[in-house]
C-alpha cells in the first residue's frame, strides 16, 4: 500500500517542481542575453526613461560574474562549514563547539560592507576581498546547521552503530551524515541566498556582479537600471531555492538508493 503511494507521488512531485523551474530558467536566459527584451520590459514599467542598459557592461557579463562569485563563496563556506562542523561534533572537538559557534555568530554581526572595506587594504581592489567577505558572512548558516544536524542524530543510533562495530569513519558516513544531511542542505541553501544578495554590495570595491548596474542606477537616479539588476538577482534566488528543495526532497524522503555508499 505504502509502496504504491510512494512510487506514485515522486513522479507527480518532480513534474510540478521541474516545470516552473524550467520555464523560469528559460525566461532568465532570454532576459540576460537579449538587450532588446530588457529594454522592452523595462520601458513598460518606466516609460520616461531613455537608458535601459549599463554603459560599459552587458547584463550577461554581470550575471556571469555574480553567479561565479556567489557559487564560489557558497562552495567555500560549505566545505569549511561542514568540515569544522564535523570536527566540533566529534568527541575530541566537542569542547570547542561553543567557542566556534560564538566566534561564528560574532563574525555574522559584522555588516558585509564593513568586512569588504576592512579587507580592502590587505587584498586590494576586485573580487578577492569580495569573496572573503561573502565567505565569512555565509559560513554561519552552514556551520550552525551542520552542528545542529549532527547534534540531533539519535544517541540510540550512535550507540547501536558503535555496538555493531562501525569504525570512526563508518559511523560518520553510514550512521550520522545521512541523518544530518537535510539540515546541512538547508544551511547551504541559506548560505547561497545570503551570498546572492551580498554579492551585489561587492560592486562597491570593484566586484563585477549585478551590483554594478544597481549602483550606477542609484547614482544616476535611474530606477530602470536598479530594477534590471534586481530582476535577475531575484530570479537567481528563486531558481536556486527550487533546486535545493528538489535536492533535500530526495534526501528526506528516504529514497533508499541515494544513501548506499558501499
Amino acid at each position: 500500500m505504502r509502496q504504491s503511494k510512494r512510487s506514485a507521488s515522486p513522479s507527480r512531485h518532480v513534474l510540478t517542481q521541474w516545470i516552473p523551474l524550467l520555464l523560469l530558467t528559460i525566461g532568465l536566459i532570454l532576459y540576460i542575453t537579449s538587450p532588446t527584451l530588457q529594454s522592452a520590459i523595462l520601458s513598460l514599467v518606466f516609460p520616461h526613461e531613455t537608458q535601459f542598459t549599463h554603459a560599459r557592461k552587458t547584463i550577461l557579463q554581470m550575471t556571469g560574474a555574480h553567479i561565479t562569485l556567489t557559487i564560489a563563496a557558497t562552495l567555500l563556506s560549505s566545505v569549511f562549514g561542514i568540515f569544522i562542523g564535523i570536527l566540533v561534533t566529534r568527541k575530541a572537538g566537542r569542547e570547542f563547539q561553543q567557542l566556534v559557534l560564538k566566534l561564528n555568530a560574532f563574525i555574522q554581526t559584522f555588516p558585509p560592507s564593513a568586512v569588504i572595506i576592512l579587507a580592502f587594504p590587505v587584498l586590494g581592489f576586485g573580487w578577492k576581498p569580495a569573496l572573503l567577505a561573502l565567505f565569512l558572512y555565509s559560513l554561519f548558516p552552514v556551520l550552525g546547521n551542520t552542528v545542529i544536524g549532527f547534534n540531533s542524530v539519535s544517541p540510540a543510533a550512535i550507540d547501536a552503530a558503535k555496538g555493531m562495530g562501525m569504525t570512526w569513519f563508518q559511523q560518520l558516513h553510514i550512521a550520522e551524515l545521512p541523518q544530518a544531511l537535510p539540515m546541512i542542505i538547508t544551511g547551504i541553501r541559506h548560505s547561497y541566498i545570503l551570498n546572492l544578495g551580498t554579492a551585489a554590495i561587492a560592486a562597491v570595491i570593484g566586484g563585477e556582479g549585478l551590483g554594478t548596474i544597481i549602483i550606477s542606477g542609484l547614482t544616476l537616479r535611474n530606477s530602470a537600471l536598479v530594477l534590471s539588476g534586481t530582476i535577475v538577482i531575484s530570479m537567481l534566488a528563486f531558481i536556486g531555492e527550487q533546486l535545493f528543495q528538489l535536492l533535500s526532497w530526495k534526501q528526506t524522503n528516504h529514497d533508499g538508493s541515494t544513501h548506499i555508499h558501499d
Partner: protein
C-alpha cells in the same frame, strides 16, 4: 572473590570470564571487582535495581566501556588485547532504544553488520529474509519499510534481527523488550525463547524485570551497587536467596515464581481413576484421597469427583480453563486447581484427552523443597 562452580557451569564450557573488573566514572565506582563467568550456549541474565552496574557490565564485554582494572577473557584471550571493531562485529548487540538507522530501510538495517564485514552481496538478501521470518515479520511486508513506519514491538524485532545479522556466537541484549507494552513484551519473550531453542546462542541479557529474568534465564546474576550478590540457576536462587536483598528483590511471591520453572509433566500422576460413568463406591471408595475423572467418548475429561469430609464433591470440567497441558507450568496448574475447586488438576494431551493429574500436595512439596 572466587565463584564456586555452579551446576549450569559444570555442564557447559565457560564462554567468557570477567575477573575482578572495576569501572570508575570520575568519583563513582560503577563496578567494584566483579567476577563473572558466562556459560556457553545459555542465557545469562544480569538483573538488579537501576544503577547496579548490569548495563555497565554488558558494555564492558563489547568494550563500549573501558575497564579501570581487571580482565575479561574471551576464549584464551583478554578482550583488551583484541581489536574493538572486530570484537563488536562478532557480538550481536540489541538495546532498549533499538537504535535503528532512521534513513535506512528495515532490510538495510538488518543487513548492516554483514555489509560492514564485507560479505558477498548475493547471499545477503536471502539472509535478511530468513532473519525477518525468524523474528516473525513478513519480509514482503516489512523489507522496504522505514523505522518510523514500525510499531514499538516491530522495531524491537527488527533490532533483534539486526543483532543476529552476521550470525554471531554471542548476543548482548540490554533490556531489548523494555520499551513495549506488557502484552507485546510477553509475546517477544515467547518468541525469544523459541528462537533461542533453535539457535542456541550464548546470550547475555540485561533486565530489571524479575519475571522476565526468571522466564528467560538459564543462569541468573543478581547485582547491587556494582557488585554481584548472587549468581546461580533461577531455581536455586528462588529456593535459597542468599540474603534479605535478594529475597526482597524476588518479591513476596517467590515460591509462586519458582513454580513457573517446573512443568506439569515433571510431577504428573498418570494412573488416575477415570471412566465414562459417574464413580461408584467400588471405583472411588469413601476413604480414597484421589480424584476420579469422568471422560466422554473421546477421552476428554468432563467432570471431576472427590470425597471431601464424607461428602462426594463434583465439579464440571470446562476443557478450556480447567485443564492443563503437559508443558504447562506448575504455576498454571496451581491457578487451575484454585479455579476448579478440587485438590488436583486434570492434565490433558495435545488432543485434549485425559493424560493424568497434578495434585495440590505434590506442588506443595515442590514449592518448599
Amino acid at each position: 572473590m572466587h565463584l564456586p562452580p555452579h551446576p549450569i557451569l559444570s555442564e557447559t564450557s565457560i564462554f567468557l570470564q570477567a575477573e575482578r573488573i572495576s569501572v570508575q566514572y570520575g568519583e563513582t565506582r560503577a563496578l567494584k571487582d566483579v567476577s563473572l563467568q558466562i556459560p556457553t550456549n545459555r542465557v545469562t541474565v544480569l538483573i538488579g535495581p537501576s544503577g547496579c552496574g548490569k548495563s555497565t557490565t554488558l558494555r564492558c564485554i563489547n568494550a563500549l566501556v573501558k575497564l579501570s582494572s581487571g580482565v575479561i577473557t574471551y576464549g584464551d584471550e583478554s578482550i583488551q588485547n583484541m581489536n574493538e571493531t572486530e570484537l563488536r562485529r562478532a557480538m550481536g548487540y540489541a538495546i532498549q532504544s533499538v537504535g535503528l538507522m532512521p534513513h535506512l530501510s528495515v532490510e538495510e538495517n538488518v543487513d548492516l553488520v554483514p555489509r560492514l564485514l564485507g560479505w558477498e552481496r548475493s547471499g545477503r538478501a536471502e539472509r535478511v529474509k530468513r532473519l525477518l521470518n525468524l523474528v516473525r515479520l513478513n519480509p514482503e511486508v516489512y523489507r522496504n519499510k522505514y523505522p518510523h513506519e514500525l510499531s514499538g514491538g516491530e522495531a524491537q524485532r527488527v533490532g533483534v534481527a539486526r543483532a543476529l545479522g552476521a550470525d554471531p556466537p554471542v548476543l548482548l541484549m540490554d533490556e531489548p523488550f523494555g520499551a513495549v507494552d506488557p502484552l507485546t513484551r510477553e509475546q517477544l519473550q515467547d518468541e525469544f525463547i523459541h528462537i533461542q531453542r533453535q539457535l542456541k546462542k550464548t546470550v547475555i541479557f540485561v533486565t530489571h524485570d524479575i519475571d522476565e529474568a526468571i522466564r528467560l534465564a538459564d543462569y541468573l546474576v543478581i547485582m547491587r551497587e556494582g557488585e554481584v550478590v548472587q549468581a546461580d540457576t533461577p531455581a536455586n536462587i528462588l529456593a535459597s536467596p542468599k540474603d534479605e536483598f535478594v529475597e526482597r528483590f524476588l518479591g513476596p511471591d517467590r515460591s509462586l515464581k519458582r513454580l513457573s520453572l517446573f512443568t506439569a509433566d515433571h510431577c504428573c500422576i498418570q494412573k488416575v481413576p477415570s471412566g465414562l460413568e459417574e464413580p461408584t463406591k467400588s471405583v472411588l471408595p469413601e476413604d480414597s484421597t484421589s480424584c476420579y475423572w469422568q471422560v466422554d467418548a473421546m477421552g476428554h475429561p468432563i467432570k471431576g469427583f472427590m470425597w471431601v469430609n464424607g461428602r462426594l464433591v463434583s465439579r464440571v470440567v470446562n476443557s478450556a480453563s480447567h485443564t492443563v497441558q503437559t508443558y504447562s507450568s506448575l504455576r498454571e496448574c496451581m491457578a487451575t486447581i484454585l479455579s476448579l475447586g478440587l485438590p488436583a488438576a486434570a492434565v490433558v494431551d495435545d488432543e485434549g484427552r485425559l493424560f493424568g493429574e497434578v495434585r495440590f500436595e505434590t506442588i506443595q512439596t515442590i514449592s518448599i523443597s
